[in-house]
Each structure stands twice: as structure tokens, then as C-alpha cells.
Amino acid sequence: MALANQPAIDAINLLNCSLLQADFATNRFAPALAEALPTVQLLGDSLMRLQYTLRPEAAWDNGRPVLATDVAFTLKLMFCPGLPNERARSDYSFIREVLIDPKNPRRFSLVCTSQSVEYVQASGDFFVLPEAALDPKSELRAFSLAELQRRPASDKAPPAVLQALARRYAAATPGQTPARLPGCGPYQLVKWEKDRSLRFRRKPGWWADRVRPRPFVLEARPAQLEYAIIPDAATASLALQRGDIDVFPQMPTREFIRLRQAPTARAALNFYTTASHDVVIAGFNTRQPPLSDALTRQALGRCFDAAGILQGSELGEGRRTVGLISPADRRNYNDSLAPVPFDPAGAVALLRRAGWRRGATAEAGWQRNSAHGPQLLRLTMRYRTDEPLFATMALQFQAAAAGIGVPVRLLPTESGNFSEALHNGEFDVYVRALRGNPFMFNFTSFLHSQAVGAGNTTGFGTPESDRLIEAIAAASTVPHRAQLLRRFQTLLQREMPLVPLFFRSNHVAAQKRLTHLYPTSLKPGFAAMAIDEAPPSTSP
């Protein structure tokens, strides 16, 4: 239920199906398990009812049909205490009730708490899990969704039924052995060598083979998909050139451009560049007293040379940004704001305004007195070791901060430990990339004060920002949402719990014989299930 990273989500995508899935051919959401996009019915002025019907062909591996009861079970599971479902809890709390049609077990309605345009798509974007596998006696049906939602996540003594369900889920260890929790997706996991490779085989009689005409989201052409885990980009690039791997997604820009200019690589490979929704950000731990005020954060934000890093590390391929919304999204991007400049002199002035004073000696750094005693401005910065971009950013920030007398200690961290360190608040500043998409503008899980301690790593949250985040999620029209999003970008730039620096480009290199790769700005950058192989050329 809790997925660590994008590759994990990509892998789970092969095993499971959602009601709606992103269509890489059109860059829109399209019905997958559902027959069609939901019909929308507004109830009064604050509720919305979305009606879905599941495809009659949809079935689990054992032949049992996928039914509305499975959807209801999955939604309830998201609110079952004792499971790793913090993110799901905040993302899907807008669904209040699942009403199953007594006449048609494949038809159901979701009652949503507001009339948000976003909920229409978000309501179908979760993997549906089989009730029979986790709750064979259907005991969860005794609980209503609203009842589970009211139960706090930290409930110490939940009813025995819920405890047993959490135990069954833990025993299935879906994170380590996804094969134990059957899915209705097109592939089965046949081999997993930890940190080396994952191999998936297409199910011989997958239910969607009977769907006519078959929509793009239900395409699954390759008979076998193998993912090689190669942490080092240079090694992965060599493997691609040798033909050991067919596709290299999210290739580092410098390597991509170098390969694209090499004649031998150009003869064997196709190169695709698309915009992405991955934004590179720096985040501050606002719970640390020296970083608790916006002025200090604004000052430190001016120590990032975003333009220089974009030019130097990404060779200019990418776009500066003022916020978490891509500049390509003209409707929602706040173009009246200017990106945070690289301005150490301005940073010094802001630090002084925040009450900091330079010590008598150069080594003394910046100090200020607060209600809780004297404070020193010394920072610890974390970044992931596996991408050179983050090391460049960290060194650049450290040098710029040292220039204005702020000492920064760098803590390069292995990617597994990185998420944990962020989660535990063991940092002052971090740099990372956030993977976004053009469909969802729900910032609750990582910027709302309710998510502090879960997805909200910066610890930021004011009543004003919380209200705005909730209003964005609940906005009922696209123009109104755009207006709120623009206000949110202004607020984020003023409060600066994080500094959005630039959006990266998505680079994919693939063997020439592959066709139907559909490079896209959506995650993961190409459609693995749509790939086909061109027949071998017969010309000499």
C-alpha cells in the first residue's frame, strides 16, 4: 500500500489494475477496469456522486469476476488501522461512501465530500485489490467506509476483525512478495533477484484480451518484461550500448547528450526527449528553530544557483519554475511570479531582517537571540548519493552559504536511508526531485499540517496554507482551481518551506528495433506495456 518510489509503482502497475489509468497515447486518464469515465451527479452544493461500472470481462487470476465489493473493500482497507496507508488515507479521504447497485454487482457509486473537478479522475486512480484473498469471510463489510475514516490511524486497540485483517496483510508481505496478493493486471512476477532484476511474464489468458476494441490502457504486448536494476548510470549506459538492455528511461542528461552525439550509438539507438513533471526542489526542516521563520528560509533559498545548475548539470534542458506546477501548464502556472534568484547579497540582507547578527569572527557565523535562547545558523544538508545532480546542488549551496558565513555540513545518503532520514526529520535542508503529474493538484499528503510526520517532510503548515490546500482539492471548476493554484504558488514562495528550482526533461534511449514506445511527459516516461518489436529488416 505504501510504495517507496517510482520504479516500485511501475512494477506494481504491471500486476494490478485501477478503475482509470493514464493513457500515454493521449496524455489523459482513460477507463481501465471501469467501462467508462464515471458519470457525475452533483448532490446539493457540496456533495458529488460518481457512478462507475466495471467491465464485464474484468476477472482475477482464479476466474472470479472483479466486482464492486472488491472496490469497496480496497477503499476500506486504506483506512484500516495498523497498515502502511498514511498516504492513501490523506489522498482518498474525499470518498465518503461506496454505494453498490443491488441489481448489478459491477455497478457502484462513490459519494465524494465536495464537487472537485479533480476528484472525478482521482476517484479511479488506485489499485483494486481482491477481497477474497485478504478477507475471505467478508468481515470488513460490517464496517462502513465513513466509520473506518473516523477511526484515528493511531488507534491502539482496533476491533479484532481489523487487527486480523492487518495481520493477514502483513503476512502476505505484498511489498516483498507481490505474487502472494493476486492482481488483475496483465503480468505475473516470475522472478525477483533483490537489487538485481525483476522478471514479469504476461498472463496467457488475461481478461482484457477479450475486450473489443481494446483501449490503449489495456494494451500489454510484450510476452515478458525484465527490469534490470543498475544503480550506476555509466554502467547502465554501457549495458544499453552493448544491447544487454533495450530501454534506458530517465537517463541522466549529460550521458544522454553524449550518447546522442556518438555515431555508433546513433546508429543503434533511438533518442526521445519530452518535458516531465519532475521538479527539483530544496526543502527546509521548518521544525528546526533557526529555520522556523520565512525570512531565514527566503535568505537560504537565494543561495541556490538554479539557473547555473540547470545550465551546467542539465545542459539547459529543463525549465526554471516558480512553484510545483510545470511552466508548461499555462492555465495553472503563476507566471506573474519571478523564480527565486541566486542572490547571496540579498540573502545577507534577509538574514539581518530575520534578526541574525554576524559573530565577531568569521568562524562565529550568524547568531540570534530568541525566546528559547541563543540560536546558531549551522545547517546539515542531505541528498541522495546515486545522482550526481544532487551532489552538484549540495556543493553549490555549501559554497554559496559559506560565502555569506553560513556553515553547511553535507550528508550524502544512500537512497533507502534518505527517505527514512527525511521522514524522521534528521536534516535541516535537503535536495531531491518530486515526481508530479498533470492530473492531480492535491498537496495534502506532503504540505498539509495534518501530514506532518507522514509525507510532509518539511513540517510546514499554517492555517492559511491548510485552507488553501483544502480549497484547491475541493475546487469545483477548472478556472477557480487555477486561481487558487496561483495563490498557492505565491504563498509557497513567500513562506518558502521548499524552493522549487527547475523542471527536468525526461530522456529515454531505446534500441531502434523497438516500436510503440510512446515517450511521454507522464511517469515513467514511456509505455512499457505498449512496446512492440519491429520485424527484422530483410533488406541487405
Partner: protein
């Protein structure tokens, strides 16, 4: 010899040298640029846009300021432990007061449960040692077995693996922490040499003469025996330096030990992995390492 002298000179004078770029300034306009290209980077830049020449110079400083003290410290620790083990063997008797002092000190240093208890035992031992007191009894100390056992234990795990494991267990360590780590894991060779030499010296007539003259054992050991026993270290020292230089570079290559902003030849070599076409990131630090280690071996030959 001239090369080594030059290295030490560069290491000491690094901050004052007229380098076109300081080592931590990122030139984002010239990332991974070949030598003699635009922007006055005579030896090119690395994948982060840092000047290779200045990284080499400050890498020399790190190498010298880390390996030289570490080798010296290891030699001193080895000489003291090996010298004591060879001189007293397993026969030394130590007063209970000193036992109490040592046990209390170790107890407190290792933060065993109730560290104050360690302090109390240590203080009682100290008081007893100073004023005499009731603990006049002695207890045999198997010094030789302890030192040789410690050396053997350190040698059972390959040095690199041991240092990597220790460095990884504490996360990021500072330069002084790494220095201590290198010294504390590198003393066994010098300890063995000094111990062997001491066992020979112990039976020589001049030691016996000093004992007959009524000099205290501690005095004989420190003033007369040790200066003779450490002679073999003169040959060993350059070898130990070469080994530590290699170890430090390997650790930096693996990204363990030194903080990321400290320039080091090993880290420069490692950055070649991220930029496989940037041959200058491999060539220059390799040359520095090769010449330095060969010079140290040559120094050993001269000593012979």
C-alpha cells in the same frame, strides 16, 4: 625523495598557492571540461565543475595531513605496545590499584551501564595508587598475550573491510575521526616488529647491566631498550605510509570516510565513474598516487 619533499611543500603551502580557482568553487559553466579548455582550467574540471588542478593540490594536502600523522600515530602505538609486550612478556605483575584504575577507565569510556560506577572504581584505584592504601596485592598481567591477541584480531579481518565497516557504522566521520581510525587499525605490523626486536634486546648485556645497577624497570625500558627496539620502524615507516595512502584513496574512491567537500585523489578517481569520457579525472590523480607510492618504496630501499 625530491618528489616527496615537493608533496609536503605543496600540502603545507596549498592555501597560499596562486591557483586560478579555489577547490570548492563550482564553475557551472564548465562542467567536465577537458584540460587547457576555456576558463583557465589547466587540468580540466570534474563532473561538478570543480577545478582538477586545485583538487589535486588540496588532495595532496589531505593525503599528507592524513596519512603522515596516521602513520606516525600507528608507529607510536605499535612501538609502545610491541615494546612493552616484548620487554615484560606475560610475566609483569601489576598492582590491584592500577587494575582498578584501568577497569574503571575502560568501563567509563565504553559507556557501560552506570558509567559513574566505572568512574568511582577508577578514582578508588587512582587514590590507592597515589597514597598506597590497602591494595598492595599484585596480579599478573599477560601483556604479551593481550597485545598479540589484539594484533591478531585486527589482522583476521582485511584492513579495508574493517575500516569500511567501522566508518559505515558511524555514518559520516570527520577527517580527524578517519585519522584515528586509520591509526588504530594500522599498528599491528609495527608492534610485531618492535616486539621481536625487544625480545632480542631484553637479553643483551647492557640491559642486564642496568638492572644490576639498580635502575627501575620502567626507566630501563624507556631510556635504554625502546630506542634500540624501534630501529626497524625506520624501514617500515615509508611502507606504512604507502599502504595508508592507498587505503585512504580507496576509501575516498568508495565514498566512505571523508566528508564530500574534502578534496582527495581517491574521490577524484571516483568521479571518473560518473564521467567515463573524462580521462583527465583518471589520469592525473593516478599519476600522483603512482609516483608517491613508488617514491615511498624507493625510500625504503635507500634506508636499507
Amino acid at each position: 625523495m625530491a618528489w616527496l619533499a615537493l608533496l609536503v611543500l605543496v600540502a603545507v603551502a596549498a592555501p597560499a598557492l596562486p591557483l586560478p580557482y579555489p577547490p570548492h568553487t563550482l564553475d557551472l559553466a564548465h562542467i567536465a571540461q577537458a584540460p587547457l579548455g576555456p576558463g583557465r582550467h589547466w587540468l580540466g574540471t570534474d563532473g561538478q565543475g570543480r577545478d582538477v588542478l586545485s583538487l589535486l593540490v588540496f588532495g595532496t594536502r589531505t593525503a599528507v595531513l592524513l596519512t603522515l600523522p596516521a602513520a606516525l600515530l600507528a608507529a607510536i602505538i605499535g612501538a609502545l605496545l610491541g615494546g612493552a609486550a616484548g620487554f615484560w612478556g606475560n610475566r609483569a605483575h601489576v598492582g590491584l590499584a592500577y587494575w582498578a584504575l584501568a577497569v574503571g577507565g575502560v568501563w567509563w569510556a565504553l559507556r557501560l551501564p552506570a558509567p559513574w560506577l566505572g568512574l568511582a572504581v577508577g578514582a578508588a584505584g587512582l587514590a590507592s595508587a597515589v597514597v598506597g592504601g590497602p591494595w598492595r596485592l599484585t596480579w599478573r598481567l599477560p601483556l604479551d598475550a593481550l597485545v598479540m591477541g589484539g594484533a591478531a584480531a585486527l589482522d583476521t579481518v582485511p584492513r579495508l573491510v574493517l575500516v569500511v565497516a567501522l566508518a559505515a557504522s558511524v555514518g559520516s566521520i570527520s577527517a580527524s575521526g578517519l585519522l584515528a581510525l586509520l591509526a588504530l587499525t594500522s599498528w599491528p605490523t609495527s608492534a610485531r616488529l618492535v616486539r621481536a626486536q625487544m625480545q632480542r634486546i631484553r637479553t643483551l648485556p647492557f640491559v642486564e647491566a642496568a638492572q644490576a645497577a639498580g635502575m627501575s624497570t620502567g626507566h630501563i625500558w624507556l631510556k635504554h631498550a625502546i630506542p634500540h627496539a624501534i630501529k626497524p620502524l625506520q624501514t617500515l615507516f615509508p611502507l606504512s605510509l604507502a599502504r595508508l595512502l592507498g587505503l585512504e584513496s580507496t576509501l575516498s574512491f568508495l565514498g566512505i570516510g571523508l566528508p564530500p567537500e574534502v578534496a582527495s585523489w581517491g574521490r577524484l578517481l571516483a568521479s571518473y565513474r560518473q564521467e567515463p569520457t573524462a580521462w583527465w579525472l583518471f589520469l592525473f590523480p593516478s599519476i600522483m598516487l603512482t609516483i608517491s607510492i613508488l617514491s615511498l618504496y624507493q625510500l625504503t630501499k635507500m634506508r636499507k
